[in-house]
Symmetry: C2
């Protein structure tokens, strides 16, 4: 393993990566750091080509020391395919979709759960807890059970119904909250304070991010070790976006992708757009969004803990933040289905709305190579399409 330490991006403090750790004493999330010179000497892109079709192909860049602690259900290495017909309809010649519906539990959250649970188990955790908008809790309960750990998951009543069932099926303890993810977080804080339970909330431990960053590795490897012009990501807690940014920085440091930087785009809903508001004002932190609500429930995060890291990623890459409204999300979900067949998740559809609007405004050019993340399986969201007789 090439993991060396945990670094605080806010105050610069260095932390031991061999102890179960949450936030820095300054309150910031921590980032896992590797000996990249040693990684470069140990492995090459050509050597990766023959490895298994899951995220563990990047094991030198992941934080699990002993394979015996790897908790896996075959997650990662999702397909990246062209959406030419829909692309043409919105004026993009090179529109690609990375389909994160094809992971266990049907959302990209499984990447974070696989790596996060593996590392938590390796460091001695026996019980994890977290607030969630649904999919992360479903994934963590699933992987916790797979790894022999207990789980306690608190989610809003508005979260997708199927995610409740996934938690229960995995034997997790489910707490339903009449509120938003922040209210669920308060309940989990009490559970954690009582002792014996590891807080695995978004960015409160450093390794979920390491699982999610593999989306960035895969995009580059699937393009033949180069980057696209733009990557568009739905942004709630922001771990996917932060992870992709971290992955791109690591690959550049390794010399595997050259110096070109793709512009990163954070997509939020007009019903909950704290990152967009902060970005437009040039701020480095968000202010909490009041009365948050959107059909893209996964991105209903009024006050993301990783706000600085999200905004840094946007500023550093010449990116953008854009809010889209629910009616347009649902219209693009239907238009995409008619053109390309696949039922997207609403958060994925939101990224296509963003692509359409950014092309209309000229921020995207017609020949920009644009990668959109469909962060989950549309089949988890029966309410997005009304069907005859349903």
């Amino acid at each position: 393993m090439f993991l060396t330490h945990l670094a605080c991006p806010r105050c610069g403090a260095r932390h031991d990566s061999e102890a179960l750790t949450n936030l820095c004493s300054c309150g910031s999330p921590l980032l896992a750091r590797y000996d990249l010179d040693a990684v470069r000497a140990a492995v090459t892109p050509a050597a990766l080509a023959g490895r298994g079709a899951d995220l563990w192909r990047y094991r030198e860049l992941l934080p699990v020391r002993d394979d015996a602690h790897r908790v896996t259900l075959g997650e990662g290495w999702t397909p990246l395919w062209s959406a030419d017909r829909f692309g043409a309809a919105i004026g993009l010649d090179r529109l690609l979709v990375k389909d994160e519906g094809l992971v266990p539990t049907g959302s990209f959250k499984a990447r974070g759960a696989a790596v996060g649970v593996s590392r938590a188990r390796e460091l001695g955790a026996r019980h994890v807890a977290m607030p969630t908008n649904g999919n992360a809790g479903a994934a963590w309960a699933t992987y916790a059970a797979r790894g022999g750990l207990r789980s306690t998951i608190a989610m809003p009543l508005g979260a997708p119904l199927i995610t409740r069932n996934e938690v229960v099926a995995a034997g997790g303890e489910l707490i339903l909250v009449d509120g938003l993810i922040g209210d669920a977080g308060k309940l989990i804080a009490e559970v954690v304070a009582a002792g014996g339970v590891f807080d695995a909330g978004t960015l409160r431990e450093p390794y979920r991010l390491e699982g999610k960053k593999t989306m960035g590795y895969e995009i580059c490897e699937q393009l033949g070790w180069r980057v696209p012009d733009v990557i568009i990501y739905p942004t709630g807690g922001g771990v996917g976006l932060i992870g992709i940014h971290k992955a791109l920085e690591e690959l550049r440091s390794l010399g595997w992708i050259g110096d070109k930087v793709p512009r990163l785009v954070a997509v939020q809903s007009t019903g909950c757009a704290p990152v967009v508001r902060a970005f437009e004002a040039g701020e480095r932190r968000v202010t909490p969004w009041a009365d948050a609500r959107t059909v893209a429930f996964g991105i209903t995060v009024p006050a993301p803990l990783g706000d600085e890291l999200i905004l840094d990623a946007l500023y550093a890459t010449g990116g953008a933040a854009i809010a889209v409204d629910d009616a347009e999300i649902l219209a693009d979900l239907r238009a995409f289905g008619a053109a390309e067949g696949l039922l997207l998740c609403p958060e994925g559809a939101a990224c296509l709305t963003a692509a359409r609007l950014l092309r209309s405004s000229g921020w995207l050019g017609p020949s920009d190579e644009v990668v959109v993340l469909n962060t989950g399986a549309g089949i988890k969201y029966p309410e997005t399409v009304a069907s005859a007789g349903a």
Copy 2:
């Protein structure tokens, strides 16, 4: 392409494989045949290792001539992983699950749709129609849209709700039927009789099977080009089981897996078990099952068209057919979730019930290597787990 012709397994007739074709004039489904000597000369297992992680890695054994007609969303190459904890609980040391939830539309039906739609398009079809228990229709509507074809899908009211939405989202024509799949079939027969529409019902065209057989190729390749002792498959229309049997025969002819034959097991519900009844009586055809009903809706097929091919596969491999009841399916679904985390589909859970019963009876030995197919994503079946407050 190495496809040479279509062969009738009942009467031996040979048919042109370059024309859109349904059943043999004798009423039997047709099987695609390849020049396997030429395939053996053209490709080796070692050459396959470096190919893409989808079912098109087996292109020499698939019926699409021109890559331009390939209709794909990245389907296939699903994970095969050990379920040690659940295996130990039921007395099996080597229990493996192949998770077909990780394909577009969340079921193995996508394999058949990808290959079937590709070939139908290549041969000139512009509109496909079929009766379905839900998942096949969802997959075919999705891939039809992806390929620029129209689709007409008839399904029972009892089919999983989400599959209706998938058809509608893909722009397919959805017909809901107050009955079973046979009743839906009668409606589709009328649609097809009116002309201009290709009948893509189960085994009514020969290429859906070619997509599904890739499960068999993958199992062997993922085990290092060898076969397990037993493969357990939920059996409704039976295409998955027939396809795996065909794949194993082809790989044996190619000399890629040796001569060992895995025993194939067909799992049905006690609420709809025509294959089990025929198998136990030593028959070669089934008689239709009256009053069919089960929680494992995908296998509610009272009179499968491929009955001879299913029963042949069981007899030829020293296999078995077993019926399991709904209460046990749901109990094993929960027990598996608690042990291994993942929420299975009910048809997948039925296979675990079968494994448990076959181990209890001694038909399975403790060290038999057993592969169970989870044919779809559990997240398509919200009703299988009752959760607090849901």
